[in-house]
Amino acid sequence: MKLDSRAYRFIDIAIRLVVGAVFIYAGALKIGDPLQFGDRIASFQMLPNAFVNSLALGLPVFEISTGLLLIVGWLRRPAALGIMIICGIFLLAIITALARGLTIDCGCFGTGKPSRLRMWLDLGRDSALFLGVMLAYRYPAIRARSAAQA
């Protein structure tokens, strides 16, 4: 890509703000109602019951903290990698749920009505987040490389 370093910097900041805000928002919606979120996780039928509630309690905190770190820029690489992993796991979960013919609400942003169309939209949104945060994760390396070339 032939982009100058200022354009990269702008894209990086924009991605971090958007993805970070989405994750803080998603986490904040769920942190107050882990019971509901646990039901959503269970509806994917991928995790034994013994682990569902731990995930329902831990994931919203993780989403908020990685979102904050990504925006603030402190520990931004681990934050970006963490978000990538969450997005990746969710991509797998939604793809297998679609393949298994489940009709569920992902529970990503609190609660909604289960629908197949929504699941496809979730898949698209999550792919975009995944690609965006991958750029944000790689940005420090790209910057270092362009600095070395300059």
Partner: protein, 174 residues
């Protein structure tokens, strides 16, 4: 990007995830409605709720008045007693004493709630409970549960389904 950097980042992610888990657990401890560690489906949670509701008085075991076949038969025929089948619903569906309703020991709360109107109408009247017969305990347990819920005249037909069918008496199917 070097592999070493990625694994360092990965270690930080794992650390962050563990911290988040601990923070989530701590928040949960101070929550007004803490989540148990084991997840239960909404249906299971409702069942627990109902069980709390129905067995509010602690369940106690105590002797119950029993009736013999002749007395049971006249109670069934006169329709004076509310007749309760305490076996599980699959047995009830295959055949039961005419006019009997199914309040099983296994799904007592569910059945009680389903038949609440009918049951509570009979609270002060005579009630007779049976199960398979022989060594079965379901009829006694259901009779005790009903008594602890305030039913006044609950008795048990100990001969049960076996004695009823052995005597060649009429059977109702559903």
């Amino acid at each position: 990007m070097k592999l070493g950097e990625i694994s360092k980042d990965l270690a930080a992610v794992i650390g962050l995830a563990l911290l988040s888990l601990v923070a989530g657990m701590i928040l949960n401890r101070f929550s007004a409605h803490p989540l148990p560690l084991m997840h239960h489906s909404p249906a299971e949670r409702l069942q627990t709720e109902l069980t709390h509701l129905v067995t509010a008085p602690p369940f106690e075991s105590f002797p119950v008045e029993t009736v013999g076949l002749n007395e049971f038969r006249s109670a069934v025929e006169s329709k004076d007693d509310l007749v309760i089948d305490a076996r599980s619903s699959s047995y009830y569906q295959r055949g039961h004493v005419p006019g009997a309703i199914n309040v099983s020991r296994e799904d007592f709360a569910r059945d009680y709630v389903r038949l609440r109107a009918e049951l509570e109408k009979a609270k002060d009247g005579p009630v007779v409970v049976y199960c398979s017969g022989g060594e079965c305990h379901d009829s006694k347990m259901v009779a005790q549960a009903l008594t602890s819920l305030g039913f006044g005249q609950v008795r048990v037909f100990t001969g049960g389904w076996d004695a009823w069918t052995a005597a060649g008496l009429p059977v109702e199917r559903q």
